[in-house]
């Protein structure tokens, strides 16, 4: 009967984090196409963009960084509803709330998985698109850097919105509404970094701001998401 003795009130975070992360990555890998989807969407929208404003190369070069960032935001946006929706529908979320680990650790795992399957691949494909807008190699480097530093913020804000809107009808649009205003500053600083670099001005300030956002988010987001999940379950 010792297997059912009172568990020590241990405070383990990592195993819960890892379990969820592993599972979500496994799920993504199961439907491999899924990992590719944000990237394909990203490339597609960014390539189609010139259609909207006409293919004036000078204009394109001017808006390049902004477009890449905006398309990245859109791709992220579209991927948000699926962070929690399925776990909610099939009852896994309840089980997570009852898990042996703090719900915040689990939320952290889901966040990490989301970034690894969206933010990271998006950041790494950005140069391809930058090329189309005529960026040179160093600028592309800054673009990737800005995305790597900034995209976790997108995942974090998005996860909060996704958790808050659980069970609401028309979730995907609701998320967009909540999230877009918050994404705007990220885009401004992210694109700003690239543009400053292109203009030969110091771009460190922009990147520093993004980095600060990411770090602050890392500390706070898991708890906010966990709270939002508890609300959704009640």
């Amino acid at each position: 009967m010792n297997a059912m003795a009172e568990p020590e009130a241990e405070f383990a975070v990592l195993p819960g984090f890892v379990a969820v992360l592993r599972r979500d990555l496994l799920l993504a890998w199961r439907t491999r196409a899924e990992i590719a989807q944000p990237v394909i969407f990203f490339i597609m929208v960014a390539s189609l963009f010139p259609l909207g404003i006409g293919a004036d190369m000078k204009l394109l070069a001017r808006v390049g960084a902004g477009v890449v960032w905006a398309c990245g935001v859109l791709a992220t946006l579209l991927s948000l509803p699926r962070i929690f929706a399925q776990d909610h529908a099939d009852g896994t979320l309840e089980q997570m709330a009852l898990s042996a680990y703090p719900l915040s650790a689990i939320a952290g795992g889901k966040l990490a998985a989301h970034w690894l399957t969206t933010g990271l691949p998006l950041s790494l494909t950005a140069p391809v698109i930058g090329l189309q807008f005529g960026m040179d190699a160093p600028t592309q480097g800054v673009l990737v850097l800005s995305l790597l530093i900034g995209s976790p913020i997108l995942s974090m804000i998005g996860a909060i919105a996704a958790a808050l809107t659980l069970g609401a009808r028309g979730q995907s649009l609701l998320i967009a509404l909540l999230v877009l205003p918050l994404y705007v500053p990220v885009v401004i600083f992210g694109a700003g970094a690239v543009e400053s670099f292109g203009a030969g001005i110091d771009h460190g300030a922009h990147l520093a701001l993004l980095g600060a956002g990411t770090l602050a988010g890392l500390v706070a987001t898991p708890f906010v998401v966990a709270a939002a999940i508890r609300i959704a379950l009640d």
Binding site: T31, R32, A33, A36, Q37, M44, S47, L51, A55
Partner: protein
């Protein structure tokens, strides 16, 4: 006769026999076509040497469109007669079609720079060709995302059929709209091209055709094995050394 080979079990060995044949044909024709195109065919009176991209560009563009039409035909068969093999053929053809379309886009862009003065313009021919590529991607993504084989097959077939309107648009775009892309050179009856050039282009077309068939047959063999791995005949086949 035809129906006999419509069953995967009998098509599998047939495909195994045909694939190498077409592969060899493809190799030979490519050699001949490239020789004819790059050594024998004269330079062009307007474009000089760059025009030789034509020997890759046009065949691949044709194949990109043609493979889509073939897929649409299989899609009809799959939806109407519920034949297993046609869905497998669609799945086998799609990557080749996508590659062909990508090559057409790529060579077209490369060719555009020296002749038109730009890699890309959003004219009707180019845009609709780009859509063709996206359609291939869409089909493959859908096929991948639906886990149930039967549903994936049918959904993919429906998508291919819906997208087929794009093919005539590609073909007639140069007639319907003012485009930057040139009009039709090869017109049945009266082609506006020197015979040697035309011959090289046709040889290359047949080479790509043979290549597409060979690759599709190879791929479909893999797909058949994968999908029928639990049937008696595949088990038997695998048990044999």
């Amino acid at each position: 006769m035809l129906f006999k080979y419509a069953s995967p079990a009998s098509f599998y060995p047939l495909a195994g026999k045909l694939a190498p044949v077409f592969a060899v044909i493809a190799l030979v024709l490519t050699a001949v076509g490239l020789y004819q195109g790059f050594i024998i065919a004269p330079t062009d009176f307007q474009q000089g040497e760059v025009y030789r991209i034509i020997f890759i560009h046009v065949p691949s563009a044709w194949m990109g469109m043609f493979i889509y039409l073939v897929m649409a035909m299989y899609a009809c068969l799959a939806l109407v007669f519920n034949t297993r093999l046609s869905a497998m053929m669609m799945q086998a053809l799609a990557p080749t079609g996508a590659i062909m379309t990508a090559i057409a886009l790529w060579t077209g862009a490369l060719w555009g720079k020296p002749t038109w003065g730009t890699y890309w313009a959003w004219d009707a021919r180019m845009t609709s060709t780009l859509f063709l590529l996206f359609l291939y991607f869409g089909y493959m993504a859908l096929d991948n995302a639906i886990e149930d084989r039967r549903r994936a097959d049918k959904a993919g077939a429906l998508l291919v059929l819906v997208g087929v309107v794009n093919v005539p648009i590609i073909y007639f775009s140069v007639r319907w709209w003012n485009t930057l892309h040139q009009g039709a050179t090869v017109v049945p009856g009266s082609s506006k091209m020197a015979d040697t050039m035309l011959a090289a282009m046709m040889v290359m077309t047949f080479a790509m055709w043979a290549y597409a068939i060979a690759v599709a047959l190879w791929r479909v063999r893999g797909i058949i094995l994968e999908r029928e791995k639990n049937t008696a005949w595949v088990q038997e086949l695998l048990d044999r050394p």
